[in-house]
């Protein structure tokens, strides 16, 4: 099992993605830590790999950035060669191939989500070993463990875009309040046929909840 090397930057993280009819909503916290030191309190873990395909990164910051860069290159090449946009399935398959073939050397937990005109909205999770799972919604990162119960109870398959955004903001905020490796702001991205809409929720605007 790969470990973070001493001094290596981790993304403690809470990340999640939710599918709705017509698009997906991705959410993440913004804390990047190296041990107890928070090296970036406003990092952007929602990374664009193509016009309507984003990924959420957790694990080693270096590993996930490198893998995302390779996939971004391949998706640009795909568009040039095929004359059409790649599907989310293709993007997720590329991530999966890299993560599986290099599983001994990588520590990357990735969520791939987006919209394409063949399959519509899709969410794929690629955990540490390099397996791939297509799901209606998924969570990852150290903070996700604290909110599985909350998310399982509240998720409904037929939510609207705004309901999904509320759901994501509430869940990530709960995770942040319990997980020391997650914190900062909540970044949200909503992807539909019309494009990508990005939102940010600052610390003073986090949803109301019991804070002890």
């Amino acid at each position: 099992m790969p470990q973070l090397k001493p001094g290596e930057i981790s993304m403690g993280t809470t990340i999640m993605a939710v599918q709705f009819d017509g698009g997906v909503v991705l959410g993440a916290d913004s804390r990047t830590s190296s041990g107890t030191y928070v090296s970036n309190r406003v990092s952007d873990k929602l990374t664009k790999v193509h016009d309507r395909i984003y990924c959420c990164r957790s694990g080693s910051a270096a590993d996930t950035q490198a893998v995302a860069d390779v996939v971004r290159y391949h998706l640009a090449l795909y568009t040039a060669q095929h004359g059409e946009e790649p599907t989310v399935k293709v993007a997720a398959s590329l991530f999966q191939q890299i993560c599986y073939d290099n599983k001994d050397n990588l520590m990357a937990g990735i969520i791939v989500a987006g919209w394409d005109k063949v399959d519509g909205a899709s969410v794929y999770e690629i955990p540490l070993g390099g397996s791939i799972h297509k799901l209606p919604f998924t969570l990852a990162g150290s903070g996700s463990t604290f909110i599985y119960g909350y998310c399982d109870k509240l998720f409904r398959p037929a939510m609207t875009k705004d309901e999904c955004i509320e759901f994501v903001k509430n869940s990530v905020s709960l995770a942040i309040s319990r997980d020391g490796s997650s914190g900062g702001v909540i970044r949200v991205a909503a992807i539909t046929e019309d494009g990508v809409e990005r939102q940010i929720v600052h610390g003073n605007n986090l949803p109301q909840q019991f804070l002890g």
Binding site: H82, V90, S93
Partner: protein
Amino acid sequence: MTSIGTGYDLSVSTYSPDGRVFQVEYAQKAVDNSGTAIGLRVKDGVVLAVEKIKHSRLLVPHSNRRIMTAGKHIGIASAGWMSDTRHLVKRVREESRSYTDVYKTKVPAHIIAERLAMYVQAYTLYSSVRPFGVSTLLACMDAKGPQLYMIEPSGYYVGYRGCAVGKGKQVAKTEIEKLDLDNMTVREAVKEAARIIYSAHDDTKDKLFELELSWVCKESNDLHVHVPQDVYDDAVQHAERSLDDDDDDNEMDDDEDL
């Protein structure tokens, strides 16, 4: 049409003063001397037909297929060196497999045609290898529908609605141009393809031949397969009957002269 490029035709890496690469043109001649192969792209599928010239009555029927399948949805018929064809088909199968491994989906027609063409073209660059003496007809069913490509020994490739290669290509092309391909179904196309092969076949040159017919269409579940026996028999009957009709027409003309 026949020209000898004295001195400039010894190696594929040599141009002639008028900008030709003779070795590639000679490879094309190998194609022109082989049995006819035709492809018809119609509204719901693609049909491939080959005039398989048999050099001996002892050959086991249906052995030594000239139409081969790659990646399940791709059909390959060719004219020229059969041994070269088998090598190219192996390559297409590998390319199709590697595409599916990476992208987890069936390779689209224009991608596999380009990959094959680039491979063939690579063999026209070096004096240490010879160009492939094969013209390949690639039939494929993908998300955009049925498609037909022809890849020549030079690596040049283009999409066609109907095309012919080999000995009888002139006769075949003339017949194909008369067809309304865009409005035909595969069932009709199979019969026409058989008829065209029979009419392009020159009985005086090679007596024995076997017709090979394949299709990729809705009826075959978008898989490339040799046509079912009943469709084959039907097509052969139609072809033989239309040949007899042509003979009958000729006889009538003789009577009128009297």
